[in-house]
């Protein structure tokens, strides 16, 4: 068990190295002189030179790369030009918003997505199945930000049920204002994940329902509820846990866009502001942190997997 975890961690090292080099190269993809691009068209030559020096762009590329690694190794993910603070502190400041949004959205997604998939599989080829699958298909086909804008127009502007935008921290307004500021974006964000998860759960459940042990359970007179809940559902969870990493990745990726619709001051908004202000060190550093976080999350998912599926643990 421990050996498995250590091995998984050691596999992550080259991935992180390659990812760091890719993010490093991002700034050098900029057409022309990156310092000029960051400074903008109206900058004086002195300002451009200052940026070049500040970011070390005047040094040879290999030296820059080594410095990049040296900084990452001590947890320095760069300095934002516009915010005048380190990327890590800028991200940490905004992390609660993105985490809150993702968490509420995940809580909405999991029961509904998995539930819909199970229901569709159990009543397969009935009108219930067809109805659920059309819903799931709409979930993965509608652009989330568009649904978000329409939802604000109707539920916030027209009906006034929810605040149209903004975020109320948990520590400032307490639970309900916090929840009210998040529930609408969280549901909009959940739509894609619900559709995605329902489709996967359905096909996983269909696989399980065709297995011999389900027929055996029914034949020996186990009641239907126990057959489904204990035998079928638990085995359905195995492939569903496999896509948990993808679901989280979709969730955080989606929140980058949704934060923009609802003006939530999270990490997504940080990145987009960084792009608009040509603050490339900020964009790079944030992407780097995201990548590192996801490599760790995926390792975590693999570990959870070994608990759900004993075959992996003992095999």
């Amino acid at each position: 068990m421990l050996r498995g975890i250590l091995m998984r961690l050691s596999q992550a090292v080259p991935v992180l190295l390659i990812f760091s080099v890719m993010v490093f190269m991002l700034m050098h993809l900029l057409p022309g002189d990156p310092a000029l691009a960051i400074a903008g068209p109206d900058a004086t030559p002195e300002a451009v030179q200052a940026i070049r020096q500040q970011l070390g762009l005047d040094r040879p590329l290999p030296i820059q790369l080594l410095e990049w690694f040296a900084h990452i190794a001590v947890g320095n993910f760069g300095e934002s030009i516009t915010l005048k603070q380190s990327v890590v502190s800028a991200v940490v400041e905004r992390l609660p918003v993105t985490l809150s949004l993702s968490l509420v959205s995940l809580i909405v997604t999991l029961p509904i997505g998995i539930g819909l998939g199970v229901v569709a599989a159990y009543w397969r080829n009935s009108w219930i199945d067809a109805f659920v699958m059309v819903l799931a298909l709409l979930g993965v086909s509608l652009p989330g930000f568009w649904v978000g804008i329409l939802s604000v127009l109707y539920f916030s502007v027209q009906l006034g049920w929810f605040p149209p935008s903004g975020y109320v921290p948990l520590t400032e307004g307490g639970f309900w204002p916090w929840f009210a500021s998040l529930i609408q974006p969280a549901i909009v964000l959940a739509l894609f994940q619900i559709g995605f998860l329902a489709r996967i759960t359905r096909s996983a459940m269909l696989d399980v329902l065709d297995q011999d042990f389900i027929r055996t359970a029914r034949a020996k007179g186990v009641d239907e509820w126990t057959t489904i809940a204990k035998h079928a559902f638990r085995n359905t969870l195995i492939p569903v846990v496999t896509v948990l990493g993808i679901t989280l990745s979709l969730l955080v990726g989606g929140s980058v866009v949704i934060e923009q619709v609802f003006a939530l001051p999270g990490i997504g908004r940080l990145i987009v502001q960084g792009i608009l202000n040509r603050d490339y060190p900020l964009v790079q550093g944030t992407m780097l942190l995201f990548g590192f976080a996801f490599v760790l999350i995926n390792i975590l998912v693999d570990i959870i997997y070994t608990f759900v599926d004993p075959r992996v643990r003992y095999g």
Binding site: M22, L137, P143, W146, L153, I200, G253
Partner: protein, 295 residues
């Protein structure tokens, strides 16, 4: 040795031809495939017929600003008095072109990487670590970063999205090629003197066509949605040339007084993504029933 290597190869090709015919017939009888196919076909026709409206999609008419949908303006007009119906039709050209380019580009590169890493074990670990690294950040985030670095242009959107979706395609092709590699007819090809190149492109790749096609269809759908999201964030294809995404992005600030500006392109995006997803579901059912939905 009852069968020679040549007979096994020859019978394999005959079986393949018969299977192609059967697959086509199954697809024609598959409901969601046909519905998706018709939706996509109609959208392509609509995109190609855009010039038939005889209206310039970028012509501004200051006195006709913010006209709601009516007889002359089917989808209404926008903040510059441009006809939205024409813009949505022309937008279909750009959005479908981006979707197609991303699907083809990520399909070709992904297939090459997948087959190479299945055939050459030494390349495998390097290529797969690179793919893992590309998948470290959420796909849309990677595309945002790349798109921002390459600048707001149509071709940079295509490159950014293709790179974001290559790793998934590569993995799927590799998985399929790894299974094929162990089959008897590959051994037969090898003893009859086939080169690595021939094995990769004549045997491994054709046998991965099913999963590859299914994946590329879904990538097409994702790319249409992602193009819109990138445009919304300001890194899509630049105005004034209309894409579904940038019409919504431009119309967003007028959403309260002129809801129609962003309503219709959004419907178009949803319909196109829906059509491609239905098409993909049908292809998956027929070509590769064991493949799960993968992002």
């Amino acid at each position: 040795m009852a069968e020679s290597a040549a007979t096994i190869l020859a019978s394999g090709e005959a079986i393949a031809a018969r299977r192609r015919f059967r697959v086509l017939r199954k697809l024609l009888h598959h409901r969601s495939f046909m519905v998706g196919f018709i939706i996509v076909l109609l959208m392509v026709i609509a995109a190609l017929c855009a010039p038939l409206t005889g209206v310039d999609p970028n012509a501004m008419r200051v006195r006709m600003r913010f006209r709601p949908p009516q007889e002359t303006w089917w989808f209404g007009t926008d903040q510059f008095g441009r006809d939205l119906f024409t813009r949505v039709l022309y937008g279909a050209q750009l959005s479908l072109w981006i979707g197609l380019s991303v699907a083809v580009l990520s399909g070709v590169v992904g297939a090459a990487i997948g087959v190479l890493s299945a055939q050459y074990r030494k390349l495998d670990s390097l290529l797969m670590r690179i793919m893992d690294a590309l998948m470290a950040a959420p796909a849309i985030l990677l595309a945002i970063g790349l798109g921002a670095a390459l600048g707001p242009q149509t071709h940079s959107v295509i490159i950014a999205l293709a790179v974001a979706y290559i790793p998934r395609t590569a993995r799927i092709v590799r998985a399929s090629a790894l299974v094929t590699r162990e089959l008897e007819f590959i051994e037969a090809a090898r003893v009859s003197g086939a080169s690595n190149m021939r094995i990769m492109f004549k045997h491994l790749l054709p046998n991965a066509t099913g999963p590859l096609l299914v994946q590329s269809t879904f990538v097409f759908a994702y790319a249409i949605l992602a193009e819109a999201a990138l445009s919304f964030l300001g890194i899509g294809p630049p105005p004034p040339a209309p894409s579904w995404g940038n019409i919504i992005a431009e119309g967003r600030q007028f959403a309260v007084q002129a809801w129609w500006i962003m309503l219709f392109p959004g419907f178009a995006i949803s319909l196109a993504a829906l059509g491609m997803n239905l098409l993909g579901d049908g292809l998956r059912d027929v070509l590769d029933p064991r493949l799960k939905v993968e992002s």
